[in-house]
Amino acid sequence: MNDTQETILKVEGLTKHYGGVHALQDASCEIRRGEHVAIMGDNGAGKSTFVRQITGVEQRTAGKVVFDGREVSFPGPLAAREAGIETVFQNLALADDLDVPSNLFLGREKVLFNLGPFSILDRRGMRKATEEGLMRTGVKIPNLNNSIRNMSGGQRQCVAIARTATFPSKLTIMDEPTAALGVQETAQVEEIIRTLKESGESLILVSHNMRQVFDLVDRIIVFRRGRIVANLNKEDTDGQDVVAYITGAKTGAEYAGAA
């Protein structure tokens, strides 16, 4: 198998200790190009820790991360984004006083004339791209010119997700994107995730929602007490099975003795 062609992310022996706490132990997995993978597990199982090591928010204690055929060690989330990993963090990273287009293009504004820091913004171009991007992802926003401070939690979440969906990336990571959302808003976010699948982008989805996971992803990786305990194809498993792995009633054969 040609690694660089087939695998977008490969993690080997990823380990993170916070002082004496072993938050993540020897985690290894692979994510193929265009594949959507869910990460499940109880609170404190190491899901968010895993995400933080990959996106460079924290520096790992040990292990190897190969992204897009290259061994990487991102000094920060920005470097990860520049390499092609878009992340929707739980705190969303939005600027409340700016309107929707400004937030979508925050840090990578379209420019008419390049004059260094005083480059003239392409306001019309950004607005148009925003409308197209939101239209494509099915997000409903009543007024693009409003600052997002006045928007509902769901709308803000949609803006944050539309931001990652508007820019082509190699891998998108979403950390519990629907945790605080209502039924309709959740459906909207899931719709955006489907559009990512259609455009062939890989996705890591951290979620507690079993129905959502089975609706959206190809494969489920289960974390328990800082270790990966199962790596299941959606077709080969069901909800009860996954719960058994999460709670510790079962452990994957290849991970036996791990936890």
Partner: protein
């Protein structure tokens, strides 16, 4: 109005419920204050505040009063444009008045004439060195550079050592005043060259202020610089996660605020044809007051150069209004303090109302 003009996804949008821009509110406040002084004028001193009542001059408005009103605050207004940007970015600049004082001293020392009425200039600091009668470009460049240096130090301290802007610029407030005293051992510097006097002569300060206000009004609205300034003030952590080089931008904004304080120093020292160590004392507070009265939020992210400009006019109207009503100067300070506090209270109230809607 069709909702697609504003939004996407077929949601209805009530255009009537759109919030009124802060600048409009501030402008209405300005008009209200002028009207109050007009009424008080007829009642207390039997004269019009705004309109011309003299038969000798053929104008509708009292041009003289309006000119003085704008002129007396246009120099602090130049500072306020820089301070406005700093506050929008979520920072504060307490040093601008002292920086003005220091830069005025440094600049004037390079702007002095060699002779006054045929005698050697008694106030010339660099007479022995022969640094007199220099082309006007020299003091201008020296002044702007000195201001930029002070602003850069502010920005560097805040961005790199991460001390609060309040502390960093408080340090600069004291140090810059020290520089002003040290530069000429406390002596005033006077008698600039004829070409230097032109910079602040007549209504020039107003024209310079207008140019700066329009320039930065456009920059804040239409450039990446402005967008990033608002973004950092709105949520610094988000701005950083979004890839904005927050530290570099902070240094840039504080440097620009310093340059504008330097420009104000040039204009003021030219207008007064002298530089004294006490120049610009408390100007920083007037500049902050203008911004806050004009709707610039001290918590960052909101406000505009236009708002700060209207805020400047409000302060100008109130102070000349007090002189017009022949009230003591003490009242001015009391009322000024009350207005600043009132403006912040109003801002808090606006924020809470925006949340509730």
């Amino acid at each position: 109005m069709s909702d697609t003009a504003h939004g996407v996804g077929g949601l209805t949008f009530d255009a009537k419920k759109r919030s009124v821009p802060t600048e409009l509110n501030v402008f209405l406040a300005l008009i209200l204050i002028v009207v109050i002084f007009e009424i008080l004028g007829w009642w207390m001193v039997d004269n019009s505040f705004l309109f011309n009542t003299s038969d000798r001059i053929d104008t509708l408005f009292n041009i003289q009063r309006i000119k003085i009103m704008i002129l007396q605050f246009s120099i602090i207004g130049i500072i306020a444009i820089g301070v406005t940007q700093v506050i929008i970015m979520g920072g504060i600049d307490l040093s601008s008045g002292s920086v003005l004082g220091a830069v005025a001293m440094v600049t004037m020392s390079f702007a002095q004439a060699s002779e006054v009425n045929g005698n050697p200039n008694p106030r010339a600091l660099f007479l022995e060195q022969g640094w007199v009668d220099l082309p006007v470009l020299v003091p201008i460049m020296v002044g702007l550079s000195a201001g930029a240096l002070a602003g850069f130090i502010n920005g560097f301290l805040i961005a790199v050592t991460r001390i609060p802007p309040f502390i960093a610029t408080l340090g600069m407030l004291l140090s810059a005043r020290g520089v002003a005293l040290w530069w000429s051992n406390g002596n005033p510097l006077s008698f600039p060259t004829e070409s230097y006097k032109i910079i602040g002569a007549g209504m020039m300060p107003v024209y310079i202020f207008l140019f700066i206000a329009v320039l930065f009004g456009l920059i804040m609205k239409y450039t990446v610089y402005g967008k990033h300034t608002y973004a950092i003030g709105s949520n610094e952590q988000s701005a950083r996660m979004s890839g904005i080089k927050v530290e570099r931008h902070k240094i840039l904004v504080y440097t620009i605020a310093g340059i504008l304080a330097g420009l104000a120093a040039i204009v003021l020292s030219s207008k007064q044809e002298t530089a004294q160590t006490g120049m610009g004392v408390m100007y920083e507070l007037d500049a902050i007051a203008m911004a806050v009265i004009g709707g610039v939020s001290l918590s960052g992210g909101r406000g505009s150069v236009l708002g700060a400009t209207i805020g400047m006019l409000i302060l100008g109207v109130i102070l000349s209004g007090f002189i017009f009503l022949r009230l003591d100067a003490y009242y001015q300070e009391i009322v000024k303090g009350a207005i600043i506090v009132g403006a912040v209270v109003l801002d808090q109230w606006r924020q809470q109302r925006a949340m509730a809607r």
